[in-house]
Symmetry: C2
Subunit: 189 residues, 2 copies
Amino acid sequence: MTAAIAIADADGLAAVSMRAVAARLETGAASLYRYLSSRDDLLDLMADRVAAELRPYPEPDGDWLDTLVRLARAQRAVHERHPWLFELSQRASAIGPEALAFFDACLRVMAPVEAPSAAKFEAIGMMNGVAILFARKRAAGESLTFVGFDLTPYPHLLAALSRPAATPAAAMDLFERALRSLLRGLLTA
Amino acid sequence: MTAAIAIADADGLAAVSMRAVAARLETGAASLYRYLSSRDDLLDLMADRVAAELRPYPEPDGDWLDTLVRLARAQRAVHERHPWLFELSQRASAIGPEALAFFDACLRVMAPVEAPSAAKFEAIGMMNGVAILFARKRAAGESLTFVGFDLTPYPHLLAALSRPAATPAAAMDLFERALRSLLRGLLTA
DNA sequence: TCGTAACTGCGAACGACGTTTGCAGTTTAC
DNA sequence: GTAAACTGCAAACGTCGTTCGCAGTTACGA
């Protein structure tokens, strides 16, 4: 449902109630059950709808690692556009056709790599995890800096925080560097 | 609250309602608000309570990478013991004293490493992510195998799934290998 | 010893949630 | 033209987090 995604983008996943979605559609909450079997159904549809934004998948030309990094960048962009996607990505039922298609595209890129299937699965999961982590980095960093704690019991943390923050450019480098070293480590002997 | 953690371990986070916790304590739901300001408060306390299970932290002797891997293993064990912790770990407010202490311990281990603070923060976040990913691996793999989808539109996925699954021993190797290559890539020039 | 002030536990109630039910109104099929 | 099927939806149910107000208990100075 496009209406549900708009609500989630604006006010977060918690604001996506059947009544809110119905109100935006100018109808009653009960009417939604003609098209959806439950709220979980709606969330699954939302997850798969935004997963479609990962298209078009890059052609697997050139280095497979470069292509995988491009896929990860797309993932990161989607998670930044729809922060609520993170909460959905952990439900097993959220694996819809679009998610499977993305999965398949990743495996296609990895086809020339000589590695067991299990390693490739892990690599995709890890790629996912890294993309999400960086998509949420800014919010997490700020929340950590501004907690109202007395940090004196944590000397190393205090010392690290008192140093100047890294530049955004360095953060971008970090994303690619982390991803490359991780995937290379997982997929090569 | 120990009672709340017991409920979550048994029936999941969703079962941790104020009424359920109160019932286990043989009291009324309203009574809990004498000690907690809200349900979110309770969840934060639960998260910090299980974070205490990460102690004692290993001494940073020997190779820093070995010590970090030991910390990650502890994290993975905690997440396997309390699967609901994953749902909590994404709330910013869940960063309590114990989580900060763990953070500090990681930084202490990384003290001899020459790297910017931001890289170390990312490394810890990534370590966390990898630990969680592997803790949830079994469930995720099964849910992916048993979805009732027609997989013919996903040829590479189908090919990968039709191969024999990896042995559990190889999975354990994968955890350590992924972590090592990731941390080394992030923290060394 | 009493009186009062403060604190404690908690039944009852409030509003919001997901979901079900039952019934009008409308379309479809023969 | 009538019966069957489908549609939209107000109302209600049970559960949730949370608040309110009141008994019962304790603490303490007079």
